[in-house]
């Protein structure tokens, strides 16, 4: 198969290009963090009970006195050996810290992505098949409101209604729940409802608009008219002929959003105290814990690059008109 071999070559070439771009990204990230003001041991300087020698000893111990290029080199060599660095603040491996936060992030952000897709596709398709109908206008209005309202606002409104007024849902997320069996799952679902809803509606709102316009583009094409004139039922035309084609760009968009699932949602995590990667990133930034910041941002960067590649490949696979060269 001619096409297949070409695409394999293409993938290999893309993978090779990834190496210098990731190196470039890491250099930029590392130098930005090195240039940024602030010192992880700044707090010690203003603490009268800690003598300056302790601070000096710590700086030496964590290699902060070395020149930047040397620190970068050490970091890179360690990374190639699978060592992501050591947190100044928590004094544990960065990889352990990230792994602790990863499951919650994947569950909460993943669930919200699924919710977003589950809402966006049917609503977007329905709205596009009946453009400018009442349903379309209502859907459009809600989509506008949805992505215009910031998550910190919708989050607080949900807390006020469901936690404080109705007292149905807890607003503090706890990763470690003492219950077992069904109660365990029920507690987890209960505390996830609000953060997942906030994030899911926010992302879903934007996606609805995208699906709608994509379906509208396709629905006017000649082949759809042909299908209809062949006597295929409207329902089948939409599901088999229109949606299949219209979703190609949507799939790419979703693939490109996947790295977000890893990096978390800083604001929403803060409001609901969800112990995800986003809250780890923000607290590490505030504490000037550069190895953790470097670890999280670099993993995000890698995922963006990889998912870009996956999106490219998916796109070509779904749409044979795209050629790999």
């Amino acid at each position: 198969m001619q096409v297949h071999r070409v695409s394999r070559q293409y993938v290999i070439r893309k993978l090779l290009i990834m190496i210098p771009s990731l190196l470039g990204i890491s250099v930029v990230l590392f130098s930005l963090l090195a240039l940024a003001p602030g010192d992880p041991f700044d707090e010690l300087a203003t603490n009268p009970a800690v003598p300056p020698e302790v601070r000096a000893a710590l700086r030496a111990k964590f290699g902060l006195d070395d020149p930047v290029w040397m620190r970068y080199w050490h970091w890179l060599i360690a990374l190639l050996q699978g060592d992501w660095g050591f947190s100044f603040v928590s004094r544990m491996d960065v990889s352990t810290l990230i792994m602790q936060r990863l499951p919650v992030t994947l569950i909460v952000i993943g669930a919200s992505q699924i919710l977003a897709i589950a809402i966006a596709i049917p609503v977007g398709v329905l709205a596009a098949t009946r453009p400018y109908s009442l349903f379309d206008q209502v859907a459009n209005t809600f989509a506008f409101i949805g992505f215009s309202l910031p998550t910190f606002f919708t989050g607080l409104v949900l807390i006020l209604v469901f936690s404080i007024q109705l007292d149905w849902l807890p607003f503090v997320y706890r990763a470690d729940i003492a219950a077992t069996g069904w109660a365990f799952y029920w507690e987890h679902i209960k505390q996830s409802i609000m953060p997942v809803t906030v994030l899911g509606l926010f992302q879903g709102a934007a996606l609805v608009r995208f699906v709608r316009s994509s379906v509208l583009d396709v629905i006017r094409l000649d082949y759809v008219t042909t299908a209809r004139s062949k006597g295929i039922g409207e329902r089948k035309v939409i599901t088999r002929h229109v949606v299949r084609t219209a979703l190609i760009p949507v799939v790419t968009l979703v693939a490109l959003q996947m790295p977000i699932v890893f990096s978390g949602a800083i604001v929403t995590e803060q409001i609901f105290r969800v112990p995800g990667i986003g809250s780890l990133l923000i607290s590490s930034m505030l504490a000037n814990d550069t190895p953790v910041v470097m670890g999280v941002t670099f993993v995000s960067a890698c995922l963006v690059v990889i998912f870009n590649l996956i999106a490219d490949i998916l796109y070509g696979w779904l749409d044979p008109r795209i050629a790999f060269r």
Binding site: K61, R91, V172, D176
Partner: protein
């Protein structure tokens, strides 16, 4: 009451002619509170009656979970590396010191069998030695016995600069020796009036020798127990996710009978102070929330939920106003506000007096801080035994006008007073923080009425409180005429606190502005008083020196107290907990319980 009379009374108590209660009543009659009175007795060699325990449960456990909400979660659990209170509070679930500070600033034994006093031979007459008797039969969570070797080890561990322990200052200048398996002595190089530093309170938590012995010095960061504490405390370690969650379970072998009450404990981190208050006061999801820097108005509204109440614990932290003694607008030898200069207008004592009369502490308390900031003029106000009664709050614009008029500061066409071509125009800086900006406005308004023009300046907190030598806007540089912030007092002894008034601590270019004396006040009288407190072993005389030092600084208008900043926390309605402003929030966790 004269010192001699006081000593007479103390003598009577010692001889058994006067009861403790009689003594306390006599002291109350002359305006000395009960805690201060009992401290005077204690330090004079009369053993302190243990404050009656309010602990009611009659068996260990059965209390269900205890849920604590710290809006900044602990990030590490080795008490020797704990920087902020969050880490110390988290470590304190599992580790204990020999003794803790109670709310009145008195010692309460934890791993010590008793508090050392002169009477029980714990304190030597020359002030050079403290002998601690350890509680026997205490075990670490892994079952190994707790002995004097552990105590000595903690000293060796913390004093080694290679360990890089944050507690080093409490241990590096003392010698610790084991006398027998349950007795240790702490020896000082010179007579030390404040002996309760090593092994006490926030910096005194003890870690087990058998788990840390191999990780002393440079290897300290590799100890697995850094992340899995094994202590002697009321709860045993279960799980730790830095910044998010610490959990523990009841220690079935805890060394105090019938304690602890709760079966499990969890400390959740993250979020912000307002929603933390809400989770305790309004929804009741948590039992206790820490450090609520929230406007009192909001707290009062949340309290109406009825699920809990706000508890306010006095300590020594003070929001205060500083007046520069040096000239911040002239550069000498590459530094502004050099010790070689004098402030052009604030060097006139009459101007200082006038400015002091323009600070309306009462309004600041009533309209801004509420219960979270009681008004005071003193810089040193806690524990009660150090609180001076000589500095009443006086706010009087007319009197300020009068003083300035008499001193020759005449109003010009623009309404601003001037003398010899020098105008009364000040720049007043603080960090960006809403209550502080409101306070600035109140003072500016009053000053305007007295013909003083104040320009307000607010600096981002991360810059204002940084130690960045290159930045001109840090609080230690104090390159303005007036400034305001909160200074914290970590221990119930004012020794470190009062360093802010001694000449040799002036913050200058030479010490990279690390000196503690920010106003750069040079007063031989204050220096002399401080030197006295360093060697004075008699606590009554020593307290008198500190009070005099405070009065000197206030009455010369070097600084002025604005409001006290007590610890504010929220607790569930049924929770009984004793919070001390002189120790960690969780220092008395073993005694917390819930009413049925």
């Amino acid at each position: 009451m004269k010192e001699r009379e006081l000593r007479g009374l103390i003598g009577k108590v010692k001889a058994g002619k006067l009861s403790r209660r009689g003594f306390v009543q006599a002291m109350m009659a002359v305006g000395i509170g009960a805690p201060a009175a009992s401290q005077i007795l204690l330090s004079s060699g009369v053993a302190m009656a243990q404050s009656p325990s309010t602990y009611k449960p009659t068996k260990r456990g059965g209390g269900g979970p205890l849920k604590l909400l710290w809006w900044q979660g602990p990030t590490l659990l080795n008490p020797h590396f704990a920087v902020g209170t969050k880490d110390q509070d988290g470590s304190r679930l599992f580790y204990e010191p020999l003794a803790a500070w109670d709310p009145d600033g008195n010692l309460k034994p934890k791993l010590a069998a008793e508090i050392p006093t002169k009477e029980n031979g714990g304190l030597s007459a020359d002030g050079l030695t403290v002998t601690w008797k350890l509680k026997q039969g205490v075990t670490w969570h892994d079952g190994k016995p707790f002995t004097a070797d552990d105590v000595v080890f903690n000293w060796e561990y913390a004093k080694d600069p290679a360990t890089a322990a944050y507690t080093i200052a409490s241990y590096q200048d003392v010698m610790v020796e084991k006398v027998d398996p349950y007795t240790v002595t702490v020896k000082f190089k010179k007579p030390t009036p404040f002996w309760a530093d090593a092994f006490v309170g926030t910096r005194g938590m003890l870690i087990p020798k058998h788990l840390f012995a191999d990780y002393i010095g440079a290897k300290s960061r590799d100890a697995p127990t850094n992340l899995k504490p094994v202590g002697t405390g009321p709860y045993m370690f279960k799980d730790f996710k830095p910044g998010d969650l610490v959990t523990g379970v009841m220690n079935p072998n805890y060394h105090q009978a019938n304690k602890p009450f709760f079966d499990t404990v969890e400390m959740k981190g993250g979020g912000d102070a307002v929603s933390a208050a809400r989770a305790v006061l309004q929804t009741g999801e948590f039992d206790f929330a820490w450090n609520l820097q929230v406007e009192d108005e909001i707290l009062q509204r949340l309290e109406k939920g009825g699920k809990g109440s706000v508890s306010i614990t006095p300590g020594g932290n003070i929001e205060f106003l500083l007046m520069n003694t040096t000239d911040p607008w002239t550069e000498v030898d590459g530094e502004r506000a050099s010790l070689k200069t004098k402030h052009p207008t604030l060097s006139d004592p009459e101007v200082r007096k006038a400015v002091a009369l323009l600070v309306d502490n009462k309004s600041i308390q009533d309209h801004i801080y509420g219960r979270t900031g009681p008004a005071t003029r003193n810089f040193l106000y806690g524990p009660a035994r150090f609180d001076s009664k000589n500095n009443p709050i006086e706010f009087n614009v007319d009197k300020a006008n009068d003083i300035l008029e008499k001193a020759g500061w005449k109003k010009g066409a623009d309404g601003i007073r001037a003398k010899d071509g020098k105008k009364l125009k000040f720049v007043y800086q603080t960090s960006i923080n809403q209550p502080r900006q409101k306070t600035q406005a109140i003072i500016k308004q009053a000053a305007q009425k007295a013909g003083i023009d104040i320009e307000l300046k607010s600096v981002t907190a991360s810059v204002f409180f940084s130690s960045d030598v290159a930045n001109p806007d840090t609080y230690t540089k104090f390159y303005t005429d007036l400034e305001m912030y909160t200074t914290t007092m970590g221990q119930p002894d004012p020794g470190t606190h009062m360093l802010q008034f001694v000449s040799w601590e002036a913050a200058t270019k030479d010490n990279k502005w690390q000196g503690r004396n920010i106003t750069r006040w040079q007063s031989p009288e204050a220096d002399k008083l401080y030197r006295e407190t360093e060697v004075e072993l008699d606590p009554v005389k020593r307290a008198a020196s500190f009070i005099k030092m405070n009065d000197l600084a206030i009455q010369n208008q070097i600084v002025m107290g604005i409001v006290q900043r007590p610890t504010v926390s929220a607790k569930a309605a049924k929770l009984n907990c004793n919070i001390s402003g002189w120790d960690n929030n969780t220092s008395d966790l073993s005694d917390w319980f819930k009413d049925a």
